[in-house]
């Protein structure tokens, strides 16, 4: 049976995941909040979030699908002089179809890559997964 769940409900459950995983207050978990900058997530927290999302929504999430930045940044073909190359940008776009990267693409400084990972992006990702299921 396909699950019918509104975006608001997905956000609500993602909010609970963030509050439990990062020890933040509910009102900090806004769609535009960045996981690292605003909510203070560290690398191990990303795995914690993945595990919690899998449990909450009953879906399987390979970590590199939700958080592809790490594998991207370790490939010299994709990164040059601290910026994503054309190839890197295309790879990012392919890996994050649920996220609008047009603003980032104007100056693809890898230092700003973490800003793409927001609560809203997680909600988009979960929504796309639930639809596909």
């Amino acid at each position: 049976m396909a699950m019918t769940i509104s975006r608001e409900q997905v956000l609500e459950q993602v909010r609970t995941v963030m509050v439990d995983a990062l020890g933040v207050d509910d009102n900090e978990v806004k769609p535009e909040a960045t996981l690292m900058g605003d909510l203070g997530a560290e690398s191990i927290d990303f795995l914690d979030i993945v595990f919690r999302l899998e449990k909450t929504f009953g879906i399987k999430i390979p970590r590199e699908e939700l958080f592809p930045a790490e594998t991207l940044m370790n490939n010299p073909e994709f990164v040059s002089n601290g910026k994503l190359t054309e190839k890197g940008l295309n790879e990012l776009k392919a890996k994050m179809p649920h996220t609008d990267i047009s603003e980032f693409a104007k100056n693809p400084d890898i230092g700003k890559l973490p800003d793409l990972f927001t609560v809203g992006m997680i909600v988009n990702f979960v929504e796309s997964r639930l639809k596909a299921a």
Binding site: L47, E54, R63
Partner: protein, 159 residues
């Protein structure tokens, strides 16, 4: 030397759950200072006991080939003191395990009394941290650590 905060395993279901026991004794010198006249097991060491119980469970799930490091204390709630003479029962369960990491839940009881709830995350460090190199030998699962398993749960050669 390595501080070991569990005495033996009494149950071990590979890649699923494990139960270890820890008998607390006044022969542990730190209890004399923590606190003078009121000896209680430090809560950080109770967490370490759970980290060893759950960590060995996680390590065994990958045949002790990964270096399993405690990466995050997701939850640590204490309901009561642990005093000399107490026999603790540390029960750990694997909630999720992947190539990179594992997440566990656990409870610690003394008789019927709930002492603590401790949920942890472990990292398989060779699979993380952007390919950073660590020493080849598995410095986590040394012989001392593995000896905890011999004779109690895993039968030794002598059976």
């Amino acid at each position: 030397m390595r501080w070991i905060w569990i005495d033996k395993f009494v149950e071990f279901n590979s890649a699923q759950s494990a139960v270890a026991v820890k008998n607390v004794t006044l022969a542990e010198e730190h209890l004399h200072d923590h606190f003078p006249g009121f000896p209680v097991m430090p809560e950080c060491l109770i967490i370490e006991g759970m980290a060893q119980t759950a960590g060995i469970l996680v390590g065994e799930a990958k045949k002790f080939e990964e270096k399993v490091i405690l990466a995050k204390i997701k939850k640590a709630v204490f309901h009561d003191y642990v005093r000399p003479g107490d026999s603790l029962r540390l029960s750990a369960k694997i909630e999720s395990i992947t190539d990179e990491a594992a997440s566990t839940t656990g409870t610690i009881t003394c008789g019927d009394k709930l002492i603590a709830e401790i949920d942890l995350m472990f990292s398989h460090i060779d699979q993380n941290l952007a390919g950073k190199q660590f020493p080849k030998e598995n410095f986590v699962f040394t012989d001392t650590f593995k000896s905890l398993l011999q004779g109690s749960v895993f039968k030794t050669g002598k059976g």
